[in-house]
């Protein structure tokens, strides 16, 4: 099948098929799908695949309309390690 190697999360190399398989097996929330596959947990912070991971999860588990399904966590933009914890000597 062509979709076999279709990447969804490039950072963590999670394919479309793997996401669909996991979502259909566990009928889980978008967050659980993320934690099970690591999709959206790479260095880009899910900026590319977030909506796709979210959408796949909600094909198998109906959406609750009142919560962001994949939470945003700071930092929402890349920051330098130095900005996080530089010790100035």
């Amino acid at each position: 099948m062509q979709n076999k190697t279709m990447m969804v999360c490039r950072c963590e190399e999670v394919s479309f098929d793997e996401l669909v398989k996991t979502a259909s097996e566990y009928n889980c929330s978008a967050r659980e799908l993320k934690l099970r596959t690591r999709a959206g947990m790479g260095y880009c912070g899910g900026r590319t695949c977030r909506t796709m991971v979210d959408q796949i999860a909600h094909i198998y588990q109906p959406r609750s309309n009142n919560d962001i399904s994949l939470k945003y966590q700071a930092p929402i933009r890349p920051v330098r390690f130095a900005d996080l914890g530089e010790v100035k000597s």
Binding site: T5, I68, A74, I76
Partner: protein, 405 residues
């Protein structure tokens, strides 16, 4: 710095809010990630009605000149990575240091949602908005000849812009059906969605479509007999009966494989044909960019007609958090003119809190202006945007009555 209003986002909503505030003698700092002010205005260039063009760059220059005249401060290339509330202040952590303010306006706009197509990770594949920015803002051609996957208002407008810049668009076509392209790959669904943009720039596609609008059987006939090679709009074939099933190339995009699709979106076996292109745009639509509102702790609601998760807000553009306001596409996907009008409402609301001479009537008039602008909008991203706006109004009223009771 703490006494100034901070606006995040120098697009139409942010600029219009900044001008309105500065006209009331309120100090404003506008923060934006990008190199220039204007936001997505910078990419926009289209014919609204025959011979009347909307030139986003000219609009943003006009707004910027006015803002500068009023001493609005700008901090460009400034990314906000975190935001928190400390005592009465909103504290913004950015790559240019920490900012404090009591009154914050989030005008962060929208982001594009992609969908996957086999081969979509090859260099040369980009979102349709990226092609627009390259072409209209940076004046760099994304390629010589490309294909746009995803037929919608945004992709057809950008296709025309590419053509004006002498970049050939071989076709605007559907994505192959998979779980993530359910609606955007179904010819009938796509045609239905296009019927609502019949007031868009003159196009034979729309004209053909409009005739079928009222009758389901005619609609089906229309899509069944829709020309396989597409109907041309501004010379670009819009192919509702073809889908890209694969993007091919060794180290970069070299072509796409197009196949004929049945009216339910399934592929006609043996119809696959390769065409050569050197870039591919994916047009998956827009969603409100609400990261900062989420970090701030705003409640969210998923409203399809507004493009996805939207922070809880009222018509005055207040969130339920003290000192936090929203305007523009963060509140729902609409055109730049609506964003401009919303920016003004948010600014008047903030100004009135800061004791400037703003009456409730002023704010009410600005809200009515948003509604008029919406009703006259040239481009509607969702045909039922009004339903979405109404939903948010109801949710706000409910939430408020819970809080009070």
């Amino acid at each position: 710095m703490g006494n100034k209003v901070i606006i995040i986002g120098a697009g139409p909503a942010g600029l219009s809010a900044a001008i309105t505030l500065a006209e009331k003698n309120i100090g404003v700092v506008v923060i934006d990630e990008y190199l220039y002010e204007g936001g997505r205005l910078l990419g926009q260039l289209y014919e609204e009605t025959p011979n009347k063009w909307w030139n986003g760059i000219a609009e943003s220059e006009r707004l910027l000149a006015r803002a500068k005249e009023l001493n609005v401060e700008f901090s460009l290339q400034t990314s906000v990575s975190d935001l928190e509330k400390i005592d009465q202040d909103w504290v913004l952590h950015t790559n240019k240091g920490v900012f404090h303010t009591k009154q914050l306006l989030l005008a962060t706009g929208a982001a594009e949602s992609p969908f996957p197509i086999p081969g979509w990770t090859l260099p040369g594949v980009m979102s349709v908005g990226a092609a627009q920015v390259m072409t209209n803002v940076h004046r760099v051609k994304p390629g010589k000849r490309g294909v746009i996957i995803g037929v919608n208002v945004l992709s057809s407008a950008i296709a025309m812009e590419l053509q004006i810049a002498d970049v050939q668009v071989a076709a605007i076509t559907l994505p192959a059906a998979n779980l993530l392209t359910i609606n955007s790959s179904n010819p009938l669904e796509v045609m239905n969605s296009l019927l609502y943009v019949s007031h868009m720039a003159p196009s034979p596609l729309i004209k053909i479509g409009s005739k079928f609008m009222k009758n389901e059987i005619l609609k089906k006939l229309g899509i069944r007999f829709y020309p396989k090679d597409g109907v041309k709009m501004w010379g670009i074939p819009i192919m509702l009966r073809k889908a890209v099933i694969e993007i091919v190339g060794k180290d970069q995009v070299e072509g796409v494989v197009l196949a004929t699709v049945n009216i339910d979106g399934s592929i006609v076996p043996g119809s696959e044909k390769r065409i050569d292109v050197d870039f591919v745009c994916i047009a998956g639509g827009l969603y409100p960019l609400a990261e900062l509102a989420s970090l701030a702790g705003c409640p969210f609601h998923y409203i399809e007609q507004l493009g996805g998760f939207v922070p809880l807000h009222n018509e005055q553009m207040e969130t339920n958090l003290t000192g936090l306001h929203v305007a523009g596409n963060i509140t729902g996907i609409e055109g730049a003119k609506v964003a401009l009008a919303q920016g003004k409402v948010a600014a008047l609301t903030i100004a009135s809190k800061l004791g400037a001479s703003v009456t409730q009537i002023d704010i009410q008039q600005a809200i009515e202006n948003v509604e008029t602008t919406r009703a006259n909008a040239h481009i509607q991203f969702h045909p039922e945007v009004l339903v979405g706006r109404q939903k948010m109004k109801e949710i706000w009223a409910q939430t408020l009555s819970h809080t009070l009771s």
